[in-house]
């Protein structure tokens, strides 16, 4: 288990669980951040936060605080 917020740039993982306050969680779900989705850490903003990830084929930006709600596991090769 690794939180999305702890990813380093270029790392990939599969989402296992999404937690957090209902509003944030719902928003994450609506944007396709759901269990089973593959997520790739693209980059960090110049000041280190927010981060940009590739998910379901598009670019999504979210803060570290929100990325903390996302648990992931490694992809089995």
């Amino acid at each position: 288990m690794k939180k999305l917020s702890d990813f380093s740039i270029g790392e990939t993982g599969v989402i296992v669980k999404v937690d957090g306050e209902p509003r944030i969680k719902r928003r994450l779900f609506d944007m396709g951040v759901t269990p089973g989705a593959e997520v790739y850490m693209r980059k960090k903003a110049p000041l280190g936060d927010p981060i940009e990830v590739t998910i379901r084929g598009y670019e999504l930006t979210l803060r570290k605080a929100e990325a903390e709600c996302v648990d992931t596991k490694e992809i089995k090769a």
Partner: protein, 759 residues
């Protein structure tokens, strides 16, 4: 007339499609949330004319942002004859997520698979026939940008609109489907329309539905007690969202075959690497912002004139004729920026044409009052405003390019960290920067912010981002200040004024966040669209859309109020024309409120004619361009005109400076007052529409108070630095002490009373 609604994700090409179908010129941008209200147009190429409604872009039909509620209610309550669901084919999964929700409503529906040109260019393929079969909804491939597949789409939609469709769901395999099914039957029994949709939302514990069906929700609550999912517990909202995506990735996603991509970066990725680079990102943003202002306002392009000390036309000894005047629009001791060149050309045209008109009237032997009305009143006022139109267009052009290319969304990404510190998310920066163009669309755009407090905060500070119409005030007054100080053309002062406006915005956000609008910064979860080169047509539509607004204003409200100001300043209370302005109706009205502005430097300390500044500021409420138009009208009344200053409008201001004895710090305070006070009526109306009930009057009060306090402080502080007088030192000390005490008191209070109900 049949009505078709366009629904889809933000930035999926809805507005482009809308423009193609209706021939309308709605504004298209490349960042999520351009359309924040629904818009209507007509499609005429079908068997009968069809009304097309462009709904705001949404990711889901959940009730969390106002635009989601607008779209949802439109489909449910207004019952369009067909919903055209636009799906961005380059981003299939997330777009189909919304499709699976719209599908659940009992409404005829067609899917427009958009951006097919992009998909094909990338070498990818989509089996749209199989997708159509699996969804059970007609699918038409289109490219809104290239205009392909549109006729077919509309024919299909027209055909579909006459057939009834019952809601369908992809949740049938889901473990809570029998609950959904039971609730649907219960709602159907109560004759609720769209029972399936409402049943699912009710199961999701959607706040709007729970209020609407307070009895049926008990069914769900009872069920929950005997249910437990190991992953989601009884969080059905999460469970449903998850089930939708699972279904999509299992059944629909495989229909897209992607060409194996190498490690090669796309152009968009390459651009992004530079623009959001860890080290270069922020400096690039600052350079871009500076370049925009430089290209719009600078009278010394790239500082070439100063660097090479280029000669002025006078030095070169060029003869004075029309050709020279034309040349002087481009070069005079320095090469001008594109904005200034256009401005000069427009000014040359208006002053030449207006000169002919006045000369023509004189030769016809027109009455003196008519000459005064047309020459001083109408032409003087309009000329000042019209000359600024090209410069406003240049500024808008640059802002439009930022929007269309997708850079604006990156700016939010880059700056979020900084803005969060002040109490708003990086997203709030988009409406703020739009405010440099015009406050009205900027205010409407605050709807894309999810948090109500953040919306209020952002909306209140938008006027501080000085809009295009305030530009003439800045240029003219700053030009006069620079003339008094003998320092350049005032463009540095103008730039500083923009900075002051932004600083006021930041300070007031911090203040409101710690007093009336307390709470945490809202989440920042946003799509970053791929960059694309702006299309020429798109840019022109965009520009025209914004410019026509200004031009229309010049010939309607500004023309009317210029005449009114002329009348009030030339007639006295006995309705007779008066030669002495101090006898006029306007003078007595102005003198009545003038003392109020004493702390700001343009009140009682001025001589008998000092009311002109107060009057100009008040006319600014009609439209901000009006301030300078009023100057144009009023300056004609002063006996002695100031010597010509190269900066447009500055001569009029100088005439008034000489006539009233106003000091330059007071002129600066005057700019700041106009920049931060209540915006024009049109923007006030927009603000009223966007603020929650009961907050509007506070918003107005906030603007009045902010402008008054900030201008008073600026006046006092600058005067103090200009000449150290005891009174100004005491006043400044007083202000500092009061602010420190206030900050301490607020901090203390906030510590003792943490915010309730806001996480």
């Amino acid at each position: 007339m049949k009505r078709f609604a366009l629904a889809g994700n933000p930035n999926c090409g809805k507005t482009t499609l809308f423009n193609c179908l209706t021939g309308s010129t709605a504004h298209v941008g490349n960042w999520p949330g351009v359309t924040v209200d629904k818009r209507e147009g007509t499609y005429k190429k079908c068997a009968e004319p069809i009304s097309i409604i462009d709904l705001p872009g949404i990711y889901s039909l959940s009730p969390y942002t106002p635009e989601e509620v607008i779209s949802r209610n439109y489909i449910l309550d207004e019952k369009p004859d067909c919903v055209i669901n636009i799906v961005d084919a380059t981003n299939l999964e997330r777009n189909l997520y919304l499709t699976t929700q719209i599908m659940e409503m009992d409404v005829p529906m067609v899917i427009a698979l958009n951006m097919m040109d992009m998909v094909e260019k990338q070498g990818d393929k989509i089996d749209e026939k199989e997708l159509e079969r699996r969804l059970g909804i007609p699918v038409v491939k289109i490219s809104a940008l290239k205009g392909t597949g549109l006729t077919e789409l509309m024919e299909k939609a027209f055909e579909t609109s006459s057939k009834e469709r019952k809601g369908k769901t992809v949740l049938e395999g889901c473990e809570i489907y029998h609950l959904i099914s039971d609730v649907r039957i219960a709602l159907d029994g109560q004759n609720v329309a769209n029972p399936l949709f409402h049943a699912i939302k009710l199961v999701e514990n959607d706040e709007i539905e729970v209020q609407m069906h307070s009895t049926t929700i008990k069914m769900v609550d009872e069920f929950k007690q005997s249910f437990n999912n190991e992953l989601f517990g009884t969080d059905f909202e999460a469970l449903v969202a998850d089930a939708r995506y699972k279904y999509i990735s299992k059944n629909y996603s495989p229909l897209m075959t992607k060409k194996e991509k190498g490690v090669k970066l796309s152009k968009s990725d390459k651009a992004d690497k530079v623009l959001t680079n860890k080290w270069a990102g922020i400096p690039i943003f600052i350079v871009i912002l500076f370049a925009i202002f430089h290209l719009t306002f600078s009278e010394d392009l790239f500082y070439l004139g100063s660097i090479f000390s280029l000669p002025t036309l006078e030095d070169l000894g060029v003869a004075e004729n029309f050709g020279t005047a034309l040349l002087a629009c481009f070069y005079d001791g320095a090469i001008f920026s594109p904005g200034v060149i256009l401005f000069n050309l427009m000014d040359l045209i208006t002053s030449t044409v207006f000169g002919w008109i006045t000369a023509g009237l004189e030769s016809l032997g027109a009455a003196e009052w008519a000459l005064s009305l047309i020459g001083d009143g109408i032409l003087g006022g309009l000329g000042g405003v019209l000359s600024f139109v090209p410069q406003i267009i240049v500024l808008l052009l640059f802002l439009s390019i930022l929007e269309d290319t997708g850079y604006m969304a990156r700016v939010a990404f880059i700056l979020d960290r900084i803005f969060r510190r002040f109490g708003v998310s990086g997203r709030a920066f988009i409406p703020m920067i739009m405010g440099f163009g015009c406050s009205i669309p900027a205010m409407v755009n605050t709807r894309t912010l999810a948090d109500e407090r953040e919306r209020t905060l952002t909306l209140r500070t938008i006027p501080f981002f000085s809009c295009g119409a305030k530009l003439p005030i800045l240029t003219a007054v700053a030009g006069a200040v620079a003339h008094i100080l003998g320092a350049g053309d005032g463009s540095i002062i103008s730039f500083l004024m923009y900075v002051v406006g932004m600083a006021v915005a930041i300070v007031s956000i911090i203040l409101m966040r710690s007093t009336t609008q307390r709470g945490e910064v809202s989440p920042f979860i946003m799509e970053l669209p791929a960059y694309h080169a702006p299309s020429f047509k798109g840019l022109m539509i965009h520009l025209w859309d914004k410019t026509k607004h200004y031009v229309k204003k010049v010939f309607t409200i500004i023309l009317a109020s210029t005449i009114l100001v002329w009348f009030l300043s030339n007639f006295n209370w006995s309705w007779a024309m008066t030669g002495d302005i101090n006898d006029s109706i306007l003078a007595s009205l102005g003198q009545f409120v003038q003392p109020l502005f004493t702390p700001l430097g343009f009140g009682s300390q001025l001589n008998a004619q000092g009311w002109v500044f107060v009057v100009a500021a008040v006319t600014g409420l009609i439209a901000k361009e009006e301030v300078i138009a009023t100057f144009g009208t009023l300056a004609a009344i002063f006996a002695t005109a100031a010597p010509e200053i190269a900066v447009e409008g500055a001569t009029d201001v100088m005439t008034m400076v000489l006539g009233t004895g106003i000091t330059w710090p007071a002129l600066i305070a005057f700019i700041i007052f106009n920049m931060t006070t209540i915006p024009c009526f049109a923007a006030v109306a927009a603000a009223k529409g966007e603020t929650p009930k009961g907050k509007f009057k506070w918003t107005l009060l906030f603007w009045v108070a902010t402008s008054y306090i900030v201008s008073a402080i600026s006046y006092t502080a600058i005067t103090m630095f200009a000449s150290w007088s005891l009174w100004s030192i005491l006043a400044t000390l007083g202000i500092i002490i009061v602010s420190v005490v206030a900050v301490l008191l607020i901090r203390n209070y906030n510590k003792k009373h943490p915010v309730k109900g806001v996480k």
